[in-house]
């Protein structure tokens, strides 16, 4: 590591210390979940998970596994803190977002423990920036209790097929309706806007369809404003897995390949829109 302003000597005790020779691997994933200002970070031996939530209805997780880092050590079983994601991203991209080919920002990240700031040492072209970001009390996170055994329908699509659909979503519609079915229309996205309704159908034998495991017909509605931020992750991803459980909870898993060919995942969970007629009954 070409870090000249010596970061802490290795003898010092840090709850979390990690180094990464290209900070963009981290910043691009964080940007994929950056729809709220604050994020909760959880570091365990397997890696770093950054969680962002909104309206108690949507949760986004970016997983950066330990292997992505050149060095990753966690002294305790798990280390958790809340941090301003906007500030963290600003610091990570302090040398600019568009790096020239061949140049990259190296990162060393240290966290002494509860109450201490997160320290970032960023180096590019011999210039070192040291950032200290205050950490906050971690939030209690939503537990969607979404486990793979309870999944009713699952579809894996090439992201290319969804990108255009999400870019063209009729934002005058309050909801996005997702239909998954073993029979026609198989997989349908619908909006109901001012101008009328629009349906987008993907046949199960489409070349975009990597996997199709639907056991029963399900139609659920999700707030379009909640799902729209997931477009950021969709833009980066190569494949997306769309799953629903019996209650209609939605899981969108995006597989993201970075410049070095390593694979990371970003996951969005979303609550279904409550069906008013059912609630009234």
């Amino acid at each position: 590591m070409p870090l000249s302003a010596q970061p802490p000597a290795s003898g010092e005790r840090y709850a979390l210390s990690a180094s990464l020779d290209n900070a963009r691997h981290l910043s691009s994933l964080l940007r994929a979940v950056h729809f709220q200002d604050h994020a909760t970070c959880l570091a365990t031996a397997s890696g770093l998970r950054v969680t962002v939530e909104d309206a108690k209805c949507i949760q986004a997780n970016a997983f950066i596994q330990a292997e992505i880092f050149q060095e990753f050590s966690v002294q305790e079983e798990s280390v958790m803190f809340r941090i301003s994601l906007s500030v963290l991203l600003d610091c990570l991209t302090i040398f600019g977002t568009s790096s020239l080919p061949g140049t990259s920002t190296a990162l060393r990240m240290c966290y002494r423990g509860y109450g201490y700031p997160l320290m970032l040492f960023l180096e590019e072209g011999g210039v070192v920036t040291v950032c200290k970001i205050n950490t906050q009390e971690p939030d209690e996170l939503l537990d969607f209790d979404f486990c793979s055994t309870k999944v009713v329908n699952k579809i894996i699509l090439q992201s290319e097929g969804l990108r255009e659909a999400f870019a063209e979503l009729d934002m005058t519609s309050e909801v996005l309706q997702i239909t998954m079915s073993p029979d026609k229309p198989y997989f349908r996205l619908s909006t109901f806007g001012n101008a009328g309704s629009a349906h987008l159908d993907y046949p199960r034998d489409s070349d975009l369809m990597e996997a199709f495991h639907c056991s029963q017909t399900q139609t659920n509605r999700y707030k379009i404003s909640l799902l729209k931020p997931s477009t950021k992750a969709l833009a980066l991803s190569c494949k997306v897995s769309i799953r629903t459980d019996a209650q209609g909870f939605l899981s969108l898993q995006y597989m993201i390949r970075n410049e070095d060919g390593q694979i990371c995942f970003v996951e969005y969970y979303c609550c279904p829109d409550e069906n008013i007629t059912e609630a009234e009954l």
């Binding site: 255009e164 806007g193 009328g196 309704s197 629009a198 987008l200 993907y202 046949p203 070349d207 975009l208």
Partner: protein
């Protein structure tokens, strides 16, 4: 009404919608026996465009059945929602294989279905409004002047004008040249005004039959919309016009497509009232061989009447070469210390539309004025 559009023609339809979206906020769909007509009119009713796609344009075309008493069903939809479907022309070309348009009066829905690559189907159910027939009254035959040029020539000419420019003047010059210049508002400050003028040689055009000395001023925005369509379709554009104040008609003709754009033109003070109220223009030279001078002195007359200056325009002006830049300092002097006079009224004559009007009748552009007159000029 049911029609199916295949392959590359979907993009042509998309481009037509883009072009129509420059005109108005509503898109009129009119299925007829001779094809599907898409029309739009602007809010001040001074601009109208129609695209008639012949049945051969479609893979399948069923205009629906009209009873002996009833006419074929027509409707209008929000331009925005229709345009949204065709927004991205490159992706339209790349991914759409087939487009199906269904007009279901019973279900009150206009259905547009795009069959895309990978078997993906996009179905849009649009709300529509029943409407009367939209028809501008114009007659290309009665126009005294006709110009035909490759769209590219005109597109490359108008690209020199700033995007914010509202109106452009098309005129004739010496040696059969055709000029295009930005129209300068009467109350524009000469010191802050830039005049751009282009001369196009006669041999650049496919045909030129213009009344000598004629010139018309029309809106550029709508014209640009049509030009981009014409250029992309590689079709020659014909311009039919008459005296100022009479509508100008732009047409594109193809075996499967017929396009008309009708725009109101700015009425000419001199030709409307032979004795302008202000001084200094009475010695306006009669049309001579040097028509550029005529145009030039016309512009001078405009400037003079605007400033309300007591000083008559320099008699040397009409003899000057048509270089607007030269006359600017002189006009600027006139402007200073000038007493604000009555602003000349700038009027676009409206095109008269009516549901009962039959097309092709040489309807006079009546004196109904739609665009508001200019308010008091500030000097």
């Amino acid at each position: 009404m049911k029609c199916v559009i295949a392959g590359g023609n979907v993009k042509v339809l998309g481009r037509a919608v883009h072009s129509l979206s420059r005109i108005g906020d509503e898109l009129y769909l009119e299925p007829t026996e001779s094809g599907l007509s898409l029309r739009a009119v602007n809010s001040s009713r001074s601009g109208f465009a129609s695209f008639l796609f012949a049945p051969l344009f479609f893979q399948l075309y069923e205009p629906g059945s009209a009873g002996p008493e009833t006419e074929l069903f027509r409707c209008k939809v929000h331009m925005k929602s229709f345009l949204g479907i065709f927004r991205s022309l490159p992706s339209l070309e790349k991914s759409v294989g087939k487009c199906l348009i269904l007009l279901k009066p019973r279900a009150s829905r206009l259905v547009l279905q795009l069959h895309c690559k990978y078997g993906v189907t996009k179905t849009h159910n649009l709300a529509f409004q029943e409407c009367e027939r939209l028809q501008a009254v114009f007659d290309t035959q009665s126009c005294t002047s006709h110009l035909c040029a490759p769209a590219r020539l005109l597109a490359e000419a108008v690209v020199h004008f700033p995007p914010t420019l509202a109106e452009v003047t098309l005129g004739t010059g010496p040696g059969g040249k055709i000029s295009l210049r930005n129209y300068v508002e009467d109350e524009a400050e000469p010191s802050k005004t830039m005049v751009t003028e282009l001369w196009l040689a006669e041999d650049e055009f496919q045909s030129v039959a213009v009344a000598p000395g004629s010139h018309i001023t029309f809106c550029l925005k709508e014209f640009r919309g049509l030009l981009s369509f014409a250029e992309a379709s590689n079709l020659p554009l014909t311009i039919h016009f008459d005296e100022p104040g009479r509508p100008v008609i732009f047409t594109l003709d193809d075996t499967v497509l017929e396009v008309h754009l009708v725009l109101a033109t700015l009425s000419d003070l001199q030709s409307n009232s032979q004795s302008p109220s202000t001084n200094g223009v009475s010695h306006l030279p009669a049309p001579s061989d040097d028509f550029a001078d005529d145009l030039e002195s016309y512009m001078v007359a405009m400037e003079t009447s605007e400033g309300g200056s007591e000083r008559p325009p320099s008699p040397t002006f009409p003899l000057r070469a048509p270089q607007p830049a030269q006359s600017e300092p002189e006009e600027e002097e006139e402007e200073e210390g000038a007493v604000p006079g009555t602003p000349p009224h700038k009027k676009f004559r409206s095109l008269f539309f009516g549901s009962v009007m039959t097309p092709g009748r040489p309807g006079p552009a009546t004196t109904q004025e739609v665009l508001a007159e200019d308010s008091e000029g500030e000097s």
